[in-house]
């Protein structure tokens, strides 16, 4: 039972991290993507793509994680350690995709940000 709870805890944390990241990034992304009329039509696409990418990054980690064995979840502290052990690949995955997306937005802004509305 503790093992199942630990796994559910990991899933909740993964989804929480993704949603939190999306909420933190959404408004500044919209601000950047409405800087001129050349960027504005793509705003919805990029914001939604970001939410999806961050969610998939955490799903990839959760999907490769099975339930902990009995010894890994024999009491509360071992279950917490098990979750903590899986947070590292989760954070790495989200951070990697976050950086890649920031790089993508930088390229987008470098290409289209210099155009001015007349």
């Amino acid at each position: 039972m503790t093992g199942l709870l630990a796994w559910i805890g990991l899933v909740v944390m993964a989804v929480g991290f993704s949603v939190g990241m999306a909420l933190v990034m959404r408004r500044p992304m919209r601000g950047l993507l409405t800087a001129n009329t050349y960027l504005a039509p793509a705003a919805n696409f990029y914001v939604r793509a970001f939410v999806l990418v961050v969610l998939l990054a955490s799903v990839a980690v959760v999907a490769s994680t099975g339930l902990p064995c009995e010894k890994q979840a024999e009491n509360t502290m071992t279950a917490v350690w098990w979750i903590a052990g899986h947070l590292q690949p989760l954070c790495l995955s989200i951070a990697g995709f976050l950086m890649a997306f920031v790089l993508l937005l930088t390229i987008l802004f470098a290409a289209l940000g210099r155009y001015r509305d007349q």
């Binding site: 939604r48 793509a49 290409a111």
Partner: protein
């Protein structure tokens, strides 16, 4: 459920779920994608891009799924693979993770391709204004 039945069920269920997720992702991004690619100056290119997008996501999921192999040093034959239930479960998990990773990477890659589309569109529009 025998190990062989489990292998068949999990294999086909995994690929079906992966393709469904790819289609759902394409549908969720469709409106924004339409807004970004709908321009009178490049209507033909816009149509091509819109058709290619779902196919691109489905292909990415298929690539992720097929990137996982069941054969390794300890499991060189079909009988050895089927005999090990824990190994089958691990492989299904690996397939799910690979599909999610490939799909995320495909969306990122497509975002990069969209930069080129938008840049060409902006050049055309600013050229037309002059």
């Amino acid at each position: 459920m025998t190990n062989e039945e489990y292998l068949q069920a999990s294999y086909f269920a995994a690929i079906a779920i992966g393709i469904l997720v790819a289609v759902a992702s394409a549908a969720w991004l469709a409106r924004g994608h339409w807004e970004a690619t709908d321009c009178p100056g490049a209507a033909g290119l816009g149509k091509v891009v819109r058709r290619a997008f779902p196919a691109w996501l489905i292909l990415a999921v298929l690539m992720g799924f097929t990137s996982v192999t069941y054969f390794d040093c300890g499991h060189g034959t079909y009988d050895k693979i089927v005999a090990d239930r824990a190994y089958l479960v691990t492989k299904t998990q690996e397939q799910a993770a690979a599909m999610a990773r490939y799909l995320a990477a495909a969306i990122m890659g497509y975002g990069l391709a969209m930069v080129l589309f938008l840049w060409a569109r902006a050049r055309q529009a600013s050229g037309a204004k002059k």
